[in-house]
């Protein structure tokens, strides 16, 4: 293990810091209002889409984990937003890079990275949640097209998206896992209806999506017909990495520390209260563990188990950070929506609720534990599902 920075890397770090210092104005106020402009700037500088080849709209740098880390750390330290991290950028782009056709890469990666095309992920269905392979939304062939009917559920951001990457049963005769294709579907195709679903946060973060004879050219399949299950597993890997992202968690820890330093009860700072301070320190240790675990999974090929726990631990940790923030705020912690005493626009409560959703979404905690036990620890598999 060697974590010293070469002079070149040290210079790179200065460069990133200088960039952030020079653009503090932009991201403090501007990036919130103009995320696309901020994103374009980040791609130009190589602080977003860093390793995506230039011909597809990325920055085109060679993969360099240490530089990636330096960028992440500098952004956290400055409290600067990392640019767009939606399902398109975090899941579809890596999938296309891995298994997309040349035409698909050229068509979709650039606009997705720049935030011009927003994607949603159409996997889950009413009867296919944890048991995703039982999905029923299906296509029949008609010349060069697929004609899709069925419905998807819990589709995040479908109400904002121009495109969906979806799992569709295209080979009805094939075994469960081999009959599914990964299809790119424009959301304005006739026959698609999106109905927002309100969640416990009071907002509609996800939707029901209904398909009635939706016509999509067959060349919108990624990775080959009937290969969707395997393509999706590529994507899921990226989703779980995104959901457990230690950088986002560390940024949140910093916000919590700030909160506990500034908030007072009866004139006493919360961080001076030994019990709250101890809870904060416990969580900080876990955040550090996940941060270094993240570094390890990037650089150590033998770290299989370390990779398998990221989604479970990362999502739990985010939820716990929000829980501590609410407890630290006490009665003020239950305020929501608006009012003169509301803190951080109610973000901590929103996180506390939405992060519980993320413990469920992208593979529930129980499913994650099954994966850790079976794939990570080699325990026998759960009894296999009945034939659907």
């Amino acid at each position: 293990m060697d974590l010293t920075l070469t002079p070149e890397l040290a210079a790179f770090r200065e460069e990133v810091r200088a960039f952030l210092a020079a653009h503090a104005e932009d991201y403090a106020g501007g990036a919130a209002r103009e995320p696309l402009a901020w994103q374009r700037l980040l791609i130009e500088q190589g602080y977003a889409a860093r390793t995506v080849p230039r011909e597809y709209g990325g920055y085109g740098a060679a993969p360099d984990i240490l530089k990636g880390r330096i960028i992440a750390e500098a952004f956290i330290a400055a409290g600067a937003p990392r640019g767009i991290a939606n399902q398109g950028v975090s899941m579809l782009v890596p999938t296309l890079l891995e298994v997309g056709s040349e035409a698909q890469k050229r068509r979709w990666i650039g606009p997705t990275l720049r935030g011009e095309v927003v994607w949603c992920q159409g996997y889950s269905e009413p009867d296919a949640g944890s048991d995703l392979a039982s999905l029923k939304t299906s296509a029949i062939e008609d010349g060069d097209d697929f004609v899709i009917s069925g419905s998807k559920l819990w589709t995040s951001t479908a109400h904002l998206a121009q495109m969906m990457f979806a799992l569709i049963r295209t080979e009805p005769q094939a075994p469960r896992h081999e009959g599914i294709s990964y299809v790119l579907i424009p959301m304005d195709t006739p026959g698609i209806e999106v109905r927002p679903l309100k969640t416990m946060t009071g907002q509609a973060e996800f939707n029901e999506v209904f398909f009635t004879e939706v016509r999509v050219p067959k060349d919108q399949v990624v990775g080959g017909r009937g290969r969707g299950w395997f393509v999706a597993n590529t994507t899921l890997k990226h989703e779980r990495g995104m959901l457990g992202d230690p950088n986002a968690t560390e940024a949140r820890l910093n916000a919590l520390i700030e909160l506990m330093k500034t908030e007072t009860v009866d004139g006493q700072r919360i961080v001076d209260h030994p019990v709250f301070r101890d809870r904060l320190m416990q969580l900080q240790a876990r955040v550090f563990a996940m941060k270094f675990n993240g570094l390890r999974t990037l650089t150590d090929e033998t770290a299989g188990l370390a990779r398998l726990v990221v989604k479970l631990q990362g999502c739990e940790l985010n939820h716990q950070l929000a829980a501590l923030a609410i407890d630290a705020l006490g009665e003020l912690g239950v305020l929501y929506q608006d009012g003169p005493h509301l803190r951080a626009k109610g973000r901590w409560q929103w996180n506390y609720m939405f992060d519980l959703g993320l413990i469920i979404g992208g593979g529930t905690a129980q499913i994650q534990k099954n994966i850790i036990a079976e794939r990570g620890l080699g325990l026998p598999r759960e009894p296999s599902p009945a034939k659907a």
């Binding site: 889950s124 009867d127 949640g129 944890s130 048991d131 039982s134 559920l153 819990w154 679903l197 309100k198 969640t199 416990m200 996800f206 007072t264 009860v265 009866d266 004139g267 209260h273 019990v275 709250f276 829980a323 609410i326 407890d327 705020l329 006490g330 009665e331 003020l332 912690g333 239950v334 305020l335 929501y336 929506q337 608006d338 009012g339 003169p340 005493h341 509301l342 409560q349 609720m353 519980l356 959703g357 413990i359 469920i360 979404g361 529930t364 905690a365 129980q366 534990k369 099954n370 759960e382 599902p385 009945a386 034939k387 659907a388």
Partner: protein, 358 residues
């Protein structure tokens, strides 16, 4: 000795549950939560028929003259259906304040009206109990109050306010100033900010009344959480028997079974703790502060666990508004913080038995 509810207490519980099914079904709760109504008078009227407002008020003043255990059973039933009702302030804390510290005149004036459901009362005791934030706190001098009280309970439409000042003295405010709504996660109850400016107030007798009010409030919040958590557990168990994945009901997965069992294992003993804390308030006053604190803090902890776990058992649909499960989740969340979060309350538990230097 028998550690169980009496027949009368069970009857009270049953009739309350039945009445609540009628007056506060989930559709009614939703309408209250989504709307701008400051109070739900129809719900309160239904509960008034059962005598709920006079539960703790002596018969001479038109009440049922029951104890805090009965009030806890009522709170549990209200929590179980997340009922929008001004129970804590109007039926428990205000009558208790009058009983503990009111003059004969004050009692004669207000208790009969409260018992009959003809008046409602709000209670502003947050600052001296949960700590002062954002410059809140009420100053009393010469029969006048000044300052701001946050998280005032049952203030909308109240004819009367019981107010604790900064140093713990209690006051009665007739014709209280208009409350400002405070928007919280829990839309089934209304909390308010009330500002006093040279507001006329009658002092209530001094003494340990505020501490008694605090203990009663803690037991009530614990009982409300008990009821809400029980509903969340019941719903998780029912859902686990219904929802199928991988060709079988999810309740047949040991992981899900264990989540349900853990909830039950935490909740069942807590029921006895709440009962005892309520019983001790009337019958073992020396133990009451300790038991009330533990009931409040412990139910806060397991309430949070159950709120989360039940949601998890439901998967994605637990997150949505469709089942309304979140009303229970948020009610438990508010109970946890109101009048002190568990860390603060456990300090009081330590203090109550001399385990704390300060």
């Amino acid at each position: 000795m028998r550690f169980a509810l009496s027949e009368d207490q069970t009857l009270l519980q049953d009739s309350l549950r039945r009445a609540l099914e009628q007056v506060a079904p989930l559709e009614r709760v939703r309408r209250f939560a989504d709307g701008a109504e400051a109070t739900a008078p129809d719900v309160w009227a239904g509960l008034t028929e059962l005598g709920l407002p006079g539960l703790l008020i002596d018969e001479a003043h038109g009440g049922l003259e029951l104890g805090l255990l009965e009030a806890a059973l009522a709170a549990e039933a209200l929590g179980a259906v997340v009922a929008p009702a001004p129970f804590l302030g109007t039926a428990v804390l205000a009558p208790l304040a009058l009983k503990l510290a009111g003059s004969a005149g004050q009692q004669a004036k207000w208790l009969p009206k409260l018992a009959a459901g003809e008046a409602t009362a709000g209670v502003a005791i947050s600052e001296p109990i949960a700590g002062a934030r954002d410059g809140a706190g009420v100053e009393a001098s010469g029969g006048r109050l000044d300052g701001t009280a946050l998280f005032v309970i049952d203030a909308p439409g109240a004819d009367l306010l019981v107010v604790a000042d900064r140093v713990g003295g209690l006051h009665l405010v007739e014709a209280p100033p208009g409350p400002q709504p405070m928007s919280t996660i829990d839309a089934t109850r209304r909390l308010s900010e009330v500002t006093f400016r040279d507001t006329m107030a009658e002092p209530l007798a001094s003494g340990p009344a505020l501490e008694r009010l605090r203990d009663a409030a803690w037991v009530m919040l614990a009982a409300d959480t008990l009821g809400a958590a029980q509903t969340m557990l019941d719903r998780a168990v029912a859902y686990a028997q219904e929802r199928r994945q991988f060709g079988r009901v999810i309740g047949s997965f040991q992981a899900v079974k264990h989540l349900c069992a853990e909830m039950a294992a935490e909740l069942e003993p807590a029921r006895a703790l709440v009962w005892y804390a309520a019983y001790a308030f009337d019958h073992a006053p020396d133990e009451a502060p300790l038991m009330a604190a533990h009931a409040k803090a412990h139910l806060s902890e397991i309430g949070r666990f159950i709120a989360r776990t039940s949601t998890e058992v439901h998967g994605g649909v637990g997150m949505t508004d469709l089942l309304g499960l979140h009303y229970w989740f948020k009610r438990i969340g508010l109970n946890r913080q109101l009048l002190g979060g568990p860390e603060r309350v456990r300090e009081a538990a330590a203090k109550a038995q001399g385990l704390s230097a300060v």
